[in-house]
């Protein structure tokens, strides 16, 4: 059974600081997704990582995938308040996704 663990589950950051969210999964998969959810809203796709070594960047967010280590990271550079949200990783499990519990990110000014 595929299990997906995110850490930390809650992250309080100062503006301008860097930090990394980790996503570990238990069985082999070559595809991993990152989503953002604002309070009371739906999920928005951030990154699609389709192979080992994949790296994607959008603004202050960068995601990477290491399929051998079964690990993905979401790195935040110079955080700003607008990045406050819940971030989910999700791992492909045969045309279905298994989600992590989510990381609540709060950026303080």
């Amino acid at each position: 059974e595929l299990k997906v663990e995110q850490n930390p589950l809650f992250l309080s950051m100062q503006e301008g600081k860097n930090y990394t969210i980790y996503c570990n999964y238990s069985t082999t998969s070559d595809r991993l997704y990152w989503y953002r959810q604002d309070p009371g809203k739906s999920l928005e796709s951030l990154f699609v990582l389709l192979s080992n070594g994949a790296v994607k960047q959008e603004g202050r967010l960068m995601a990477s995938l290491d399929t051998k280590a079964r690990l993905s990271t979401l790195h935040i550079t110079a955080a700003v308040h607008d990045l406050s949200a819940t971030y989910f990783c999700a791992v492909d499990n045969g045309n279905k996704l298994v989600f992590g519990a989510g990381t609540i990110l709060r950026v303080k000014s």
Binding site: Y33, L43, E44, F88, D92, L97, A101
Partner: protein, 117 residues
């Protein structure tokens, strides 16, 4: 192009009542999914469909039924609602391209907030 829409947005039920949640997508996607979201637990897959006329169980299917009579619609039914089904329900869809492209992510609807008293 509305994407994925869900009806209703909010609903309050009494224990034992039944209801149907409707999901519609206008992107001609083959795959559709129903999830529930509970605090601290991420999203859990209830049922999914890989094409018109097909359905399959996900991680937490008990107490729910689904139907995909038309490609663009995916219905989630609760036959006898229980307080444990209080949750936010999300529908999602994705294209069938072998999950090989950057666009092969799931597109989510706005959610339905259901309370069962």
């Amino acid at each position: 192009n509305a994407g994925v829409t869900q009806t209703p947005k909010f609903r309050v039920l009494k224990t034992g009542q039944s209801m149907t949640l409707l999901c519609a997508q206008d992107m001609n996607h083959e795959y559709m999914y129903w999830y529930r979201q509970d605090p601290g637990m991420g999203l859990r897959l209830i049922h999914y469909s890989v094409g018109e006329g097909t359905t399959a169980k996900g991680e937490v299917p008990d107490g729910y039924n689904v139907s995909r009579l038309k490609k663009q619609n995916f219905l989630l039914g609760l036959e006898s609602a229980a307080p444990s089904q209080t949750s936010v329900y999300f529908c999602a869809s994705t294209a069938d391209s072998g999950w090989s492209y950057d666009t092969d992510t799931q597109y989510f609807g706005p959610g339905t907030r259901l309370t069962v008293l």
